[in-house]
């Protein structure tokens, strides 16, 4: 899946790209198991075609897209984003896709649309751990509408120039590079525009640990570990000191203005 060069500011970080062998075998995708190696082992059962994405809620033109419509909706771009997991590790991944704003503009959100909800697939037949009690299924994530409209917020169909492997969220997923990785839902089946802040999966499971915003922020610690530093997988040796985590994962100049005046400690 080739992608052209992106004109979006901040779309190509200079960091070394994480080897594909790591970023496609070390995944959090609990529908296929909670161990990082589980998704690569188990996700072969996922059927990515036919695939539809329902776009509904506070929009003038609700619509159900087939995966082939989405692949053609906008020109594919390759973007090299940092991915910072809330657990304290990070990767650098060359994603292929386009800005979610392209789709949002097509469906024309109404004045009531304040938030966007992303529902991901929960199919017990193909996802062995959908029955587990770790989270409430389906996995739901959400963004404020202005966050979703930001050009860096990306709908992803591929990585390393290839079609997304199942364990990375095929056939389409989100990439929101300034937020912790869990904000970027995998295998999306529904996009819903709402007036109320979405009740997201981790917020329901552990509200004191995972907030709605979950912006990467080295100054706001997770209750069980520090977020000040991170381990870059494949690059930092076992005994290397962890590297400092950057405010908004290094995308502060692009997204900082979205949060002007917002208390980021309270709104973690």
């Amino acid at each position: 899946l080739p992608g052209g060069k992106s004109a979006v500011v901040g779309a190509n970080v200079m960091d070394a790209i994480t080897p594909k062998a790591l970023s496609t075998t070390y995944n959090n995708f609990y529908e296929f198991g909670t161990d990082k190696a589980d998704p690569a082992r188990n996700a072969h059962t996922l059927k990515t075609r036919p695939w539809t994405v329902v776009v509904e809620g506070a929009v003038a033109k609700p619509r159900t897209y087939g995966i082939d419509d989405l692949l053609k909706l906008a020109p594919m771009e390759e973007r090299i984003y940092r991915l910072r997991c809330v657990e304290g590790w990070s990767m650098v991944v060359p994603w292929v896709g386009w800005s979610l704003a392209e789709l949002i503009k097509q469906v024309e959100p109404t004045g009531n649309a304040k938030f966007v909800e992303f529902h991901t697939l929960a199919d017990p037949k193909t996802m062995p751990f959908v029955g587990s009690r770790v989270l409430e299924w389906p996995y739901v994530e959400g963004l404020r509408l202005d966050e979703a409209m930001h050009p860096l917020t990306m709908l992803v169909f591929g990585l390393y120039g290839e079609v997304l492997p199942n364990q990375n969220g095929a056939p389409l997923r989100l990439a929101v590079p300034w937020k912790y990785g869990f904000k970027s839902g995998k295998s999306i089946v529904k996009i819903r525009f709402t007036e109320q802040q979405p009740k997201t999966a981790w917020l329901k499971a552990a509200p004191q640990e995972y907030g709605f915003y979950s912006n990467v922020n080295p100054k706001v610690d997770h209750p069980r570990w520090s977020q000040a530093t991170e381990r870059r997988l494949g690059e930092d040796g076992i005994f290397a000191k962890k590297r400092p985590t950057l405010m908004f994962n290094g995308y502060e100049s692009q997204v900082g203005q979205l949060y002007a005046g917002l208390d980021l400690v309270k709104n973690y």
Binding site: Y26, W89, R224, F239
Partner: protein, 206 residues
């Protein structure tokens, strides 16, 4: 079985066996076969083995009494020391791989995070036990006092269990934790029952 346990080679053999996971983790770290996040694999791997060897150590007395395996008794202190060894490794992995051996940061981190505090307490409780794990210490302390001191291992086991519970609580992922909890409940429950029986026994004969 008891004959095998009393064989002079049994103890060194068991020790070698108990250190196999350490060798495996060390080899994995050197050969880089611990997956994408080797630091995490080492921290978690050593922690798993602390809990396992605590269970194994606590199983010695019940197994000895239930099956008449008197030969097991001489393994008990060694197994406890193995648990302590993995505990020290676990702490070192945290201090080095997670905290970069930054002492002020570690000192600040421990009281800040309840699950790390509890884990550290569990390890500290094992220090006097490991330090008195030789015959002369038993003589110096007197068997009764030594025994009472070494009952601190029950607290270590429970704190270790709580530490692991909190670590998994964020993901509501208690499957593996429940296995350790059941094993420890059986092993500690067996002791509690025995103690209660002894007390009622005393009353019957008096």
């Amino acid at each position: 079985m008891n004959k095998l346990l009393l064989h002079p080679a049994a103890k060194p053999l068991l020790l070698a066996l108990a250190l196999l996971p350490f060798a495996q983790l060390l080899w994995g770290a050197v050969a880089n076969t611990l997956g994408a996040n080797p630091a995490e694999a080492l921290i978690r791997g050593t922690g798993d083995w602390v809990l396992r060897f605590l269970c194994i150590t606590l199983a010695v007395t019940p197994l000895r009494e239930a099956f008449g395996l008197t030969g097991l008794a001489r393994m008990r202190r060694m197994l406890g020391n193995v648990a302590f060894f993995y505990g020290v490794l676990h702490f070192l992995c945290y201090a080095w791989l997670d905290m970069g051996l930054d002492v002020p940061a570690i000192v600040a981190d421990i009281p800040k995070r309840p699950f790390i505090l509890v884990g550290t307490l569990a390890l500290l409780l094992m220090v006097p036990l490991s330090a008195t794990s030789f015959n002369r210490a038993i003589k110096a302390l007197g068997a009764a006092r030594w025994k009472r001191l070494h009952q601190a291992v029950y607290a270590t086991a429970l704190l270790g269990l709580l530490h692991f519970f909190w670590m998994r609580a964020g993901k509501n992922d208690f499957g593996e934790w429940a296995v350790y909890a059941v094993v420890m409940a059986v092993l500690l429950g067996w002791r509690l029952r025995r103690r209660l029986q002894r007390h009622s026994g005393v009353r019957l004969t008096s």
